[in-house]
Amino acid sequence: MSDTPAGTPASAPATKRGLERFRMYAEGKRAMITMIEESPDPNPVLLGFFKLMLADDERIVDCIENDKPLLSTWYGNANEICAAMDIQAYCLVDNILHLGPTQEDLDGMDAVPIPADMCGLIKMGAYAVEKGLVPVPTAMIAMLEPCDAQSALHEAWMNTPGWEGVPTFALDPAYGATGWDYDYFAGELRRMITFLEDHVGRKMDWDRLREVIEATNKQYEAWAEYNECRRAVPCPHPSSFPTSDLCWGLTQHIVAGQPEVVDVITMLAGDAAAKVKAGVAGVPGERIRILWADLVPFWHGPLSEWLASEWQANVVMDFQGYTPYEHIDTSTEDSMLVGLAKRCLNEVPMIRQARGSVDAMIEDITRITKDYTCDCVIFPGHVGHKDQSASVGFLREACRDLKIPLLILTVDNFDPRFTPIEELSRQIFEFFEAHGLGEGR
């Protein structure tokens, strides 16, 4: 994996792609940990979160430095299998998204020769590979769901200098949610295992897979407990955005099945439960309860702050945080693979709502608005979610039947420049006012 990214001046010393960036990410997390530890009241949940994320970065740095196998993959690709095969994986947009793209990243994204009307995350993925910000992997597992751009992005990576010839296996996602669909995708996972054995040189350890899945079962149970607390009125914690980011990050974006993840999420749930008991409101004087019908936007900080301070409005749930997870039966290889298939197809945020027909999205909105006593639904209309944008008619009908106000926006979840916060808050302000939201509570 020693190579020089395109555009590096000839005089610069040879460097391994991605090393500098991942060292930077690790440094950033170390700094966060220090800051938290030195604060008057260190938050144990955040501490646990950053330590686990840091450990993942450090493993990736180790792989780059020492030319160890490294797999490029995604959160919807059954990372439990990688953990069972002791393969270090990375999702190459993860750190840019979690830490936030710098201005240099945003400018770099604009310079990638793909159309401006594509999703910011996709553009970032193209940019990261083009600019050598991520290591060239030993092998790649392409995630072809939920959207067109995912498929096209991987094909583009395969055509990017430095990435040609990286062995690639693509998981073909089933479209439906029937037994046949899960069996089919379980077959794809089996073929993925064979591919990994052939190209990464690690063997599947089915006992280890059992342990990993059982640990993840516990993680998702803990997450479900946390979500249960958020149903309370008032909601015990402020905006769901940070906790959805935290829980999703720990469950699907780092090495799968670490028991410490259960501890962190359990702490989070415990804190929420205590606050429910004490009647504490995450947003004091909570007046408006919002369902954010999509993933957490990268620029959620200023939005949540404005909602809370100006309107006492709280995003009580979002699609990223909500996804209902089923317990996977670990008794046999087949039951584990079918369970993982179900998880990949049905239980990954965004993929769940976008992959197949419009039904999943409408069902989720119906269920969440009732379970979480929502006062309104905000559909962000992320530019990358073309299918969801073509579902607005169904959304309107569902919200009309639920008698719940719906706001349809157009944003880029991953690029704050697309719809500036001033414009967003103006649209939300008008929406709240027009529907009399927040009055008389």
Partner: protein
């Protein structure tokens, strides 16, 4: 061999008369509603400056610009992309990237080593990044284009302009003025927003030094310096950037006339 190139733009009409390798004259007029009339006015002005009695003295007239197909007096026409590239390269043979910021469109052209067009991108779908945008903003500031450019150079803290559309940017500017933001900072912010747009186009084509700017907006020193800062490299100045297209057309006219003779 005396030839002419006529660039019929939306905002201005330009004409250049060449005598073999020598520029005899260059002339610019404000566009009228009829491209043919604009072309004739520009050509008449250039003929007068060259001391030529009539267009009959010309061996070939090449047209370019958006109105190029509408002028009967033109012998043939070529795209403004090809003509701007040729004109810019003639003046600056080390140029490899041409950024043309005209009245109603902007383009970035990448040149091969012999000055031929290698690739290009255009924005002719909206006013952002064009002379039209600067005209609107100068009007909002109640000053001339030159004064606007000068104002933008006085700031070292450009305001953040969030609107991409010129129409909405205008209302954003008014809001900022009313909020008491320094007008120089606002002007610099507007220039900055256009620079960003051009940078994105430059990257799509691939930046190869040296870079030149053509078109009327090349006179906006605020824009040029903004681009230099953003790109981290010097931009070569042309003697008459607004006439690069007409010059290129004249050079092609010369080629055609030579072939015909």
């Amino acid at each position: 061999m005396i030839v002419a190139g006529v660039d019929l733009g939306s905002a201005t009409g330009k004409a250049v008369i060449l005598d073999d390798d020598r520029i005899l004259s260059m002339h610019v007029v404000r566009s009228t509603i009829k491209p043919e009339k604009t072309g004739l006015l520009a050509l008449e002005g250039a003929l007068k400056e060259a001391g030529l009695a009539s267009p009959d003295r010309l061996d070939f007239i090449m047209g370019t610009g958006y109105g190029r197909r509408s002028a009967a007096f033109i012998s043939d026409n070529m795209s403004e992309i090809t003509c701007h590239a040729r004109g810019a390269f003639w003046w600056q043979p080390t140029a490899r990237t041409v950024v043309d910021v005209g009245g109603q469109d902007c383009k970035v052209i990448s040149l091969a080593d012999d000055g031929r067009v290698a690739t290009f991108v255009m924005n002719d779908k909206c006013a952002a990044g064009t002379g039209k945008f600067f005209e609107m903003m100068a009007r909002t500031f109640d000053c001339s284009l030159d004064e606007f450019a000068e104002l933008s150079l006085q700031s070292d803290k450009p305001a953040k302009i969030t609107k991409q559309c010129s129409v909405f940017a205008e209302s954003e500017v008014i809001t900022l003025i009313n909020e008491g933001i320094d007008q120089a900072d606002i002007a610099a912010g507007l220039v900055d927003s256009i620079v960003r747009r051009l940078i994105a186009m430059i990257h799509r084509v691939g930046l190869e030094p040296k870079l030149v700017i053509t078109g009327g907006c090349a006179k906006n020193e605020g824009l040029v310096r903004g681009l230099e800062r953003a790109l981290g490299q010097e931009i070569l100045r042309l003697p008459a950037p607004q006439l690069a297209g007409a010059l290129g057309a004249a050079l092609f006219a010369r080629d055609k006339a030579a072939k015909a003779s």
